[in-house]
């Protein structure tokens, strides 16, 4: 087991080293079985999303034979006449292949969830760095603002914003940034308040380095441990949020396949044709489970050291 830690400890020069340093903790996951399961689940969906055009047997928007049940799960409500096409997971009320929509839907969620999380992190980190580094009235204003946002029940805030400004991909990302930025800010602020008292920060200040350089280069990299764990957890939450918004009819606009939206469109038929809703639910649950297990594995490793 000496080899992996050795190549982490001796960074090769250049971009590769910086990258390895940044994702180092994720590489360490191989020491945690729970984390390995998590990363496998996530990797599975990432591969499905990348190779969606090769995996999906049909066009996700093509309407063919409606209300088909999966061939291995026939029940009394299913139409029984033979059709030529083979639908692994059946079709929905418009005759679109559930399996193909599921595969293409993975793309949607794996683009928007990381994108929204990344944007929220950018905003949250900038706010947190400023609040923690400058303290004083900057901190006061930013913290009161965060208190205000965080006093809303999460989903209420999302519903308010999206119902008011309309459901679109951009608005969903903006709403997520707005609602989770303050939470990230609080974490970063706490870490910065501690880190800014370290000697290397004092040294940098003495050298006359500009404030933004100290925040981004001296302080931020040293706060990355807890932030990576939180980012994994938050990816899970954001995935849930996108799913919930889709479920409530406030998500990405149809007809493009999106897991939450698939559940929303067919839930009135869930009692008679459960295959239309159950499979998207399994898909989103396994992806979230992947993120959460990854976060748990990372936390376990970071606690061990």
């Amino acid at each position: 087991m000496a080899a992996p830690s050795a190549d982490l400890a001796l960074p090769a020069p250049g971009f590769g080293a910086a990258l390895r340093k940044a994702i180092g903790p994720i590489g360490l996951l191989r020491e945690s079985p729970v984390g390995m399961v998590g990363i496998t689940l996530v990797a599975f969906w990432v591969l499905v999303a990348i190779f969606a055009p090769l995996i999906a047997p049909y066009d996700p928007l093509a309407t063919q034979d409606p209300f088909r049940c999966p061939p291995w799960w026939q029940h009394s409500y299913c139409p029984t006449n033979e059709v030529d096409n083979f639908y692994l997971l059946g079709t929905d009320h418009l005759g679109r292949d559930v399996f193909s929509r599921l595969v293409w839907g993975a793309r949607k969620v794996l683009i928007y969830a990381p994108l929204a999380t990344l944007c929220a992190y950018t905003v949250g980190i900038v706010m947190g760095l400023c609040a923690g580094y400058y303290r004083g009235w900057t901190d006061n204003i930013l913290s009161r603002f965060a208190d205000l946002i965080l006093s809303f029940p999460v989903l209420v805030l999302y519903i308010l914003i999206i119902a008011h400004f309309g459901a679109s991909a951009v608005n969903i990302v903006v709403a997520i940034v707005f609602a989770s930025g303050p939470g990230i800010m609080r974490i970063v602020r706490g870490l910065v308040l501690d880190l800014r008292t370290r000697e290397y920060v004092a040294a940098a200040e003495t050298r006359g380095e500009p404030a933004w350089w100290i925040m981004l280069v001296e302080i931020l990299p040293n706060a990355r441990g807890p932030l990576i764990v939180d980012a994994c957890l938050r990816l899970g939450y954001v995935t849930i949020t996108i799913g919930v918004l889709g479920f409530l009819g406030l998500g990405l606009p149809p007809p493009d396949p999106d897991w939450g939206g698939m559940i929303n469109e067919t839930r009135s038929m869930a009692i008679s044709f459960p295959h239309m809703t159950v499979f998207p639910c399994i898909a989103i649950s396994t992806l979230i489970l992947g993120f959460n297990l990854m976060a748990d594995g990372l936390r376990e490793i970071s606690l061990r050291d």
Binding site: P153, H164, S272, S285, D296
Partner: protein
Amino acid sequence: MLLFILKRIGFMALTMLAVSVVLFALLEIDKEKVAVRVIGQYTTPEQRALWLERNGYNRPIVERYVSWLGHVAIGDFGRSVRYQSPVADVLWPRVWNTVILATYALGIIVPLSLVLGILAGMREGSKLDRAISVTCIGTTSVPEFASAVFIAALFVFVLGILPGTSSMADGFNVLELVMPVMVLVLYDFGYVARMTRASMAEVMTTQYVRTAVLAGLPYARVIWKYALRNALIAPFTVIMLQVNWLLSGVIVVEVFFSYKGFGALLLDASLSQDVYLIEACTLVAVFVAVGTQTIADIAYTYLNPRIRFT
């Protein structure tokens, strides 16, 4: 202590005030939009102008806000367009229904998660601990809408033993509450259990617990008399804060099972742009969230002798 409580309540009032300003700014600054939403899209500009004049919308914005706040403070939220009746008449019965749902859910979540958390935290790293922890991650990974689908598929489609909706059309029926409560419990108990576990595990490593064990006291007695009291302080706060999450979950569950509660009303109001109803619902939701946070803060300082704010 009294001063601290007053401070917290004052802070709570300030937060509510700030929320009301944001809400008013978001929904009522553009008075033309309010007119369109209240008296309809197909009205003439003259009709809208007349309506705005009659309802005092031509006053300065600050005056309008203060008068709105005054009415809200005495529980007069205006008239719902969607339901064609005063907002208060629609709102309070719905809130009551949600209180019933949430009480059942919390009544199961709290004992279940405390017991599991304590069992897991008693022996950190044991097989039981790992099993409980992984189960908790598993259940919190399934969003409410997904577990609602799974549970409905199982109990209605496969087993056929529970009613598929919870609209309470034929009067109150406990059976119709089973699935909504189950969904809420499944999603929420994991988090509280994990927090309880962390708190319990921490207490188990303290000197006084070790001393008690080494002094030869029976293990059960050490847990009951020494560890539990301190281990339960943190979970209490978490449970109070959990009400905030429960409010979000309640929206999904009520929509899925068409339960006539507060969460479904809030979504309904937002989707139909029913301005006054949105304002009332949001204020109630924020009040509950901030109120439970305040209670959690006060109780935490009361329960934990190491913290004393004045």
